[in-house]
Amino acid sequence: MLKYGLTRLAATVPLLLAMSVLVFLVATIMPGGIAVVLLGDNASPETVTVLEAQLGLNDPLPVQYARWLGNALQGNLGDSWTLKEPVVGVIVRRMPVTLSLAVGGMLIGIILGLMLGIIAGLRPGSGVDRLITLIASIGVAMPAFWLAMLLAVYFAVQLRWFPAIGYTPLGEDPVKWLRSITLPCIALGLPTAALIVRQMRSSFITVLQSRYILAAHATGIPLWQVVSRYALRNALVPVVTVIGFRLAVVFSLSLAVEQVFNLPGIASITIRSVMMRDIPLLQGTVLLTALFVVVTNLLIDLSYGWLNPRVRLA
């Protein structure tokens, strides 16, 4: 298992490098070039040339990339053009908000999704199953930010159980922190749960119909043992895939949810960077997403290995 884990870890290095190339290229393929974007369309050609020389834009691309990567590895992604401060600092300050949402939302989604999926999959066609399936279908179609608004209207504006907007850091006041992220996490978690329910249910049904479950029943071991030990583990494999996809998406889904609750996370700076073509800031946020995705993929790969001996021992 350790060997398997290390190989997976090593495999992420080229992936990260490729991502960094992509992120770097975003800046270089801007129409007109960076200098024009920085100076505006009305800048005289002389000033553009001067700025390009200053920024080292006349060097060959690999040189520029090496310089950029070298800086990035030292934690320097440059200064944001619009915020006029280091990108890394901005991201580090805002990261905890987005991470709280992503982790909380996934936890709610996974726990709820697995539970309901198993209940539905155990008795396919029953009333409970049909109810769960119906709710899950609606949940999958529900835009997370709409759900966030509905939750905010009801629980924050009308019932006043939770704050409608704003964020309290964990270090400042844990209870307030929890209250400030509860609704956003639910808004992210419910659609995620719906997705997991659907996959869990269908793969559980498939596994329960398999030959080895029939054979396990034939050995006469108790029903709960057949379900928990013989069926569950195999049924989880495709579910883990779905969770992996969702982990990558939940990070970007939280963009819209953050906007609804006016949380000071990554969302606002991402949108700002896109709208105002703030390239260093965009590179920072995309790189951050990529890093997050790579790390989650690694976790997913490790859980495959844990679930499936064929993967681990290959």
């Binding site: 991502m19 992509l22 975003v26 801007m30 396919p124 066609g125 279908s137 609606i138 999958v140 179609a141 529900m142 835009p143 930010f145 709409w146 608004m149 509905l150 504006v157 009308q158 409608a164 398999s210 030959r211 080895y212 029939l214 054979a215 396990a216 029943h217 034939a218 050995t219 006469g220 071991i221 108790p222 029903l223 043992q225 030990r229 013989y230 583990r233 195999n234 990558a248 998406v249 990070f251 970007s252 889904l253 963009l255 819209a256 906007q259 609804v260 991402t270 949108i271 896109v274 709208m275 073509r277 965009l282 995309v286 997403t289 995705v293 790579v294 679930l307 499936n308 001996p309 064929r310």
Partner: protein, 644 residues
């Protein structure tokens, strides 16, 4: 024209339509999507107001006759904005999905079919993009190219194309392994023809279902981007934009968030339901049958095949280990009909003897075995008959008590040893679980016993094998493990369901020898299910021949081989090419095929293929009758002298 039997069932297209019509939710969803596109086309003519026509005297109003869905903060009609938003969202989604398909499918087909370096290069790049959330890919492209709606949807289409590449490639890889592709290559067809004419039609249904699902995803992303203010510009009414505006009035007028949000959700839901429905309807191995909770119908139903009482009385000693009487298994069929796939099976198995149950595929022999163990897979059920193990009736036992007997008093070895072992559990777990459940052993005792069992089935290096997983074993070894598991608690009855059919003949010989040894040691009775008459000849004391759900003949092995008393047995034995038969280049044949259960005749099931058939055969169900020493046959003409 020996095999030119009637074609079965309806034509393929009719069946697809029938399956589609079964998916009622999907049909409703399709209707709704159609409506959305109609609205998208004729929107400007049916919308009561212009999308931007505001009336500042009536802002933030609730639903009224003038404004069915109320007005927004600028007094604009919500319904009209939703209608114009439909136009925008539906075209945008169509644009993105079309771009995704046009980009993704050809690349996937090519990478999947050609394989090798091209495939690896393409998939590496695709995986790279796929790993990123589509919305981030879109954001990156938008940042570079600008934020017009067309750019945005092209970016989303590009991001989604990776999904089509992956899906298409995966299915192409699977299809490429199908023999018909080899056949097309041997037929001298070129790559283009094979890909477009042979592979694409087979993966198209799944692609269409996937496209419907991706529509939902694209709609959601479009709405999210518009909500964030990136997609549609301020002048363009879109669902996401409407929703984002309502955010400022959450306090004052929460209803504003309902219509646009519901519009998004319903559209996405419709595409998802359509995709699910298409997936079910177009899938190659669709199981349409619904689960029925019906259990034994019991005695209210009149038995079709007589009561089989004459069969019962013949060999009933207190030595009987397993007695099956008039067993019937039914499955729900089309149009609420019930299909009987095992009809009136009666068997007696004495302690220590081996009974062969022979028949072709579809004759119901495996289902008989599963029914004996109380393991008829849903939606089927035992509709009649009794199964007695050591004098104890099993069909009325609750599941929990049946479990205490299964694996302990009565166990089974399956044909395919690999699929009957759990791929993610070690051999040790799978061997010791039943030992611990039935014999109450602790884990150390169970492990020791498991080692003994593996030694018994002559698995080399049992210590190491215990810690291994099924995929690390060869077919012969896996079957030895299956046998060890079945023998674990020294059952009095072992059911062997074609345990050697998937193995090589030399390994088959070793497994048969093992079975004989174990029987000598434990004295259990074996019900050996097979289609191989050679194995029956070697292993069995008595044999029961099954055809189309019925036992047609039973008797002692030597007698049945020497003088078969049923036309099917006789014809089948005659068709077998023997190792020592020489010369003749033409084998006698039985015309026709085993019919599927819904086509079984009311009278003798073998009637349509029988060389001795007379009109009387097709009138009534034929009972199993005794013809001499321990021999029964199900034939109208069984008593005719000179015929046998």
């Amino acid at each position: 024209m020996t095999d030119a039997a009637k074609p079965r069932g309806v034509s393929g297209q009719a069946r697809v339509w029938w399956r589609l019509r079964q998916q009622r939710l999907a049909l409703i969803a399709a209707g709704y999507i159609l409506l959305l596109y109609v609205v998208a086309i004729i929107g400007p003519w049916i919308a009561p107001y212009g999308p931007m026509t505001g009336d500042l005297r009536s802002t933030l109003q609730g639903p009224s006759i003038a404004h069915w869905l109320g007005t927004d903060h600028l007094g604009r009609d919500i319904l009209s904005q939703i209608i114009y938003g439909t136009r925008l969202s539906m075209w945008a989604a169509l644009e993105a999905v079309l771009i995704a398909i046009i980009l993704g499918v050809p690349i996937g087909l090519l990478a999947g079919y050609v394989g090798g370096k091209l495939d690896r290069a393409v998939m590496w790049a695709v995986d790279l993009i796929f790993a990123l959330p589509p919305i981030m890919v879109a954001l990156g492209i938008i940042a570079v190219l600008g934020t017009t709606l067309d750019t945005v949807m092209a970016a989303v289409g590009f991001a989604f194309s990776t999904r089509f590449v992956r899906l298409t490639r995966g299915m192409t890889l699977t299809e490429r392994e199908e023999l018909y592709v080899d056949g097309a290559r041997v037929g001298g067809l070129d790559v283009w023809t094979i890909v477009s004419h042979h592979i694409l039609p087979n993966i198209a249904p799944a692609l269409i279902a996937q496209a419907a699902l991706q529509f939902g995803g694209v709609l959601l992303i479009e709405a999210t981007l518009s909500f964030l203010g990136i997609g549609a510009s301020l002048e363009q009414p879109s669902w996401g934009r409407l929703l984002s505006q309502s955010r400022d009035y959450m306090d004052a007028y929460p209803f504003l968030a309902i219509p646009s949000g519901a519009a998004i959700m319903l559209a996405v839901l419709a595409f998802n339901l359509l995709g699910d429905g298409l997936h079910t309807a177009l899938g190659r191995d669709t199981i349409v049958a619904k689960r029925k909770t019906k259990r034994r119908k019991g005695d209210t139903e009149t038995q079709r095949h007589g009561d089989g009482s004459n069969a019962r009385s013949l060999i009933k000693t207190n030595m009987t280990a397993l007695a099956i009487q008039g067993l019937q298994v039914r499955f729900p069929g089309a149009q609420n009909r019930e299909i009987e796939i095992v009809c009136d099976v009666s068997l007696d198995l004495k302690s220590g003897e081996t009974l062969g149950l022979v028949g072709e595929s579809g004759s119901g022999k495996s289902m008989t075995a599963l029914a004996t163990l109380g393991l008829v897979p849903a939606p089927g059920w035992i509709s009649n008959g009794s199964v007695q193990l050591g004098g104890r009736e099993l069909t009325t036992l609750p599941d929990s008590e049946l479990r205490r007997l299964r694996g302990k008093e009565m166990s089974i070895v399956f044909q395919d040893s690999f699929t009957s072992l759990n791929p993610s559990l070690t051999i040790e777990t799978q061997l010791t679980d039943p030992l611990r459940a039935h014999l109450g052993l602790n884990s150390r005792q169970a492990r020791e016993r498991a080692l003994e069992l593996l030694a018994l089935v002559q698995l080399p290096d049992p210590q190491r094998r215990l810690n291994e997983y099924p995929h690390q074993l060869s077919g012969g070894m896996a079957q030895r493990v299956g046998l060890a598991r079945a023998l674990a608690c020294q059952p009095s009855v072992l059911i062997a369901d074609e345990p050697t059919s998937a193995l090589d003949v030399t390994v088959q010989g070793q497994i048969l020898d093992l079975l004989k040894d174990a029987q000598r040691k434990f004295g259990m009775a074996i019900l050996f299910i097979t289609h191989d008459w050679g194995i029956v000849a070697e292993l069995c004391d008595r044999v029961a021949v099954m055809y189309a759900g019925e036992i047609v003949e039973t008797g002692k092995v030597d007698g049945v081989f020497a003088h078969p008393r049923h036309p099917y047995t006789r014809a089948l034995l005659a068709t077998l090419p023997g190792l020592d038969r020489t010369g003749t280049r033409s084998v006698p044949v039985i015309p026709g095929v085993v019919p599927p259960p819904q086509d079984w005749h009311k009278g003798c099931h073998f009637y349509p293929r029988c060389a001795l058939a007379i009109p009387a055969c097709n009138r009534n169900p034929v009972p199993l009758t005794s013809v001499g020493d321990d021999r029964q046959t199900r034939c109208v003409r069984a008593g005719e002298e000179g015929l046998w």
